[in-house]
């Protein structure tokens, strides 16, 4: 079933420069794990942010769960955003607050203004947050302040904050770009589990082609604001990679899994 559909989406930040997104169309089925790859500045981040309208569209149409998002009013937009989680490269947690407080921030979109201001969460919400924290192996840090955590732990808090929203879709904006390889693997494994066990749709922008190949059901390659590849990981050949990045795949030190089976 189609969860998300983009039709001829364009985004101009300024009329003087080339558009960040030019005529992008694709649709996403429920439960898919999709990686978005492409060089820096190719529009990956903009693409993700148009979906929850953190970036406004210049043209085109986005439909999420049967609702056209571009003309939503303020309260409807809040409702839309509460169904879409987001994970960031720099985690974007409130550093001075504890893990549990940060996780519960994911519930703000479901609450009245006053309850949110006072930070009064229901017992059910707290129990759910606790379950998610345990699932992500963060139980011993639950009352620690987030500035005392490592990068990998912070990103797990970020995932927990997204999960507590009960989202249908999670947008991940370069979730492992600031992490060391072992933390990156842990995070990607969690994302894979979320996709497989909870059936949540994931749209992940990545810089590492081999990781994209290993984890995702489908890869979208973006270059200069247009989609240049959209298909299964095993359809991504050397030629297609060099089309996405504008360099020969061998020069880019990308392992496509032909020699060692590393990315299979």
């Amino acid at each position: 079933m189609t969860l998300l559909e983009l039709k001829n989406v364009t985004k101009h930040y300024s009329p003087a420069v080339a558009p960040a997104l030019a005529d992008i169309s694709f649709s996403v089925n429920e439960g898919e794990f999709i990686s978005v790859i492409g060089p820096s500045g190719s529009g990956k981040t903009t693409l993700l942010r148009t979906i929850n309208r953190m970036v406004e569209l210049s043209g085109g149409e986005i439909t999420f769960a049967g609702v056209s998002i571009s003309r939503l009013r303020k309260s409807e937009l809040r409702k839309l955003r509460s169904k879409i989680g987001m994970i960031f490269q720099h985690y974007n947690l409130v550093d001075r607050m504890s893990v549990i407080e940060n996780v519960l921030h994911g519930r703000l979109g479901h609450k009245s203004t006053l309850a949110g201001i006072l930070g009064s969460y229901t017992l059910a919400e707290k129990e759910q947050a606790l379950r998610i924290i345990q699932m992500l192996g963060l139980d011993e840090y639950i009352n620690k302040r987030c500035d005392q955590l490592s990068g990998g732990q912070k990103q797990r808090v970020g995932i927990a904050r997204a999960l507590v929203q009960n989202p249908k879709l999670i947008l991940c904006d370069e979730p492992i770009a600031s992490l060391d390889p072992s933390s990156a693997k842990i995070i990607m494994d969690y994302l894979k589990n979320i996709s497989r066990d909870l059936g949540i749709t994931l749209l992940v922008s990545l810089h590492q082609v081999d990781i994209a190949l290993k984890y995702s059901d489908r890869v979208i390659g973006v270059n200069r604001g247009t989609i240049v590849f959209d298909g299964k990981p095993d359809e991504l050949t050397r030629e297609r990679v060099s089309e996405i990045y504008g360099f020969d795949a061998g020069d880019l030190m990308i392992n496509l899994g032909e020699s060692e089976g590393y990315a299979s």
Partner: protein
């Protein structure tokens, strides 16, 4: 003046003759507009200082004698503090009144400044609004506190009302700037993350912005409280707003009782130290996250 200009010309010629020789920066600093401006300013200041000292009218005061007498007055004040008119309880009560004035104006100013600060923070409000509020409070700050008190005294009459309004007014100007800069310290990306979960502006402010800047808010507020305490002492004397300042004014200017001036000064100092200690303690507790 001539000498400098001549040397400027000489250096200029050296530069041209060498034609971009790389030794030139070693011989002299490259002469640009900034260096020239600094040199001219220093020269003018030196001239003015010399002129002032040469034409300073001492009005027949014997400098040595005057210095000795000042020191002897200080000795009377600070080595023999004593009270003739005020009992210890009276003095204490008067300091409490001054403290109350400082507290009231800081709280009123702080509450108003909290909201203005949110509207003046660039990561929370549209640019046109932050510009309006920032320039508005800059104007308030540019006028000294005592002038605001005197301005409001036109309407409210000289006394505590004018003092409260005037002090509050200036506190708002000061704290709005301090608060908004503390708020701006929080990364836009954190605000964006909460907006992306569907949180609205008020929720973001109370769940992320204020908790993140609480330590700054507290230390700025305490700093303003100290300033307001000092101002409140002065208002007692200048605006008739009661409190220890009025007693200080009476003791110094009316009874000419230096012993009492000394005592009152010590009392004010003691209160200031207590406040500072309390502020440091509270800030440390907040920082350690207890």
């Amino acid at each position: 003046m001539m000498e400098i200009d001549e040397s400027i010309e000489v250096w200029g010629k050296m530069g041209k003759r060498d034609g971009g020789n790389n030794l030139r920066p070693l011989i002299a600093k490259p002469l640009d507009r900034a260096t020239l401006a600094i040199r001219l300013t220093l020269f003018v200041l030196a001239g003015m200082t010399t002129y002032t000292f040469l034409t300073l009218g001492s009005n027949g005061v014997n400098v040595a004698q005057a210095t000795a007498e000042t020191l002897s007055n200080f000795a009377t004040m600070f080595l023999h503090p004593y009270s003739h008119h005020l009992t210890v309880w009276d003095a204490f009560y008067e300091v409490l009144i001054t403290l109350g004035l400082a507290y009231l104006t800081t709280v009123l100013g702080g509450v108003l400044a909290l909201f203005l600060g949110l509207m003046a923070a660039q990561n929370l409000a549209p640019k046109w609004l932050t510009n309006i509020i920032k320039s508005f409070v800059a104007v308030i700050r540019a006028v000294p506190t005592i002038l605001w008190v005197l301005i409001f005294a036109v309407a409210a009459g000289l006394g505590s009302t004018a003092a409260v309004i005037g002090l509050t007014f200036h506190s708002v100007g000061y704290l709005t700037k301090a608060y908004s800069e503390s708020f701006e310290d929080l990364d836009r990306s954190v605000i964006e993350a909460l907006r992306a979960t569907g949180a609205n502006w008020w929720q973001v402010v109370f769940q992320a912005v204020i908790p993140s800047s609480a330590t700054y808010l507290l230390s700025w507020t305490f700093l303003r409280f100290e300033i307001n305490f000092g101002n409140a002492v002065a208002m007692g004397a200048a605006a008739g707003a009661a409190g220890i300042g009025f007693d200080l004014f009476m003791a110094g200017g009316y009874y000419f009782d230096l012993h009492e001036v000394g005592l009152i000064t010590y009392l004010v100092l003691a209160f200031a130290i207590v406040m500072e200690t309390a502020a440091t303690y509270m800030k440390r507790r907040l920082q350690s996250g207890e």
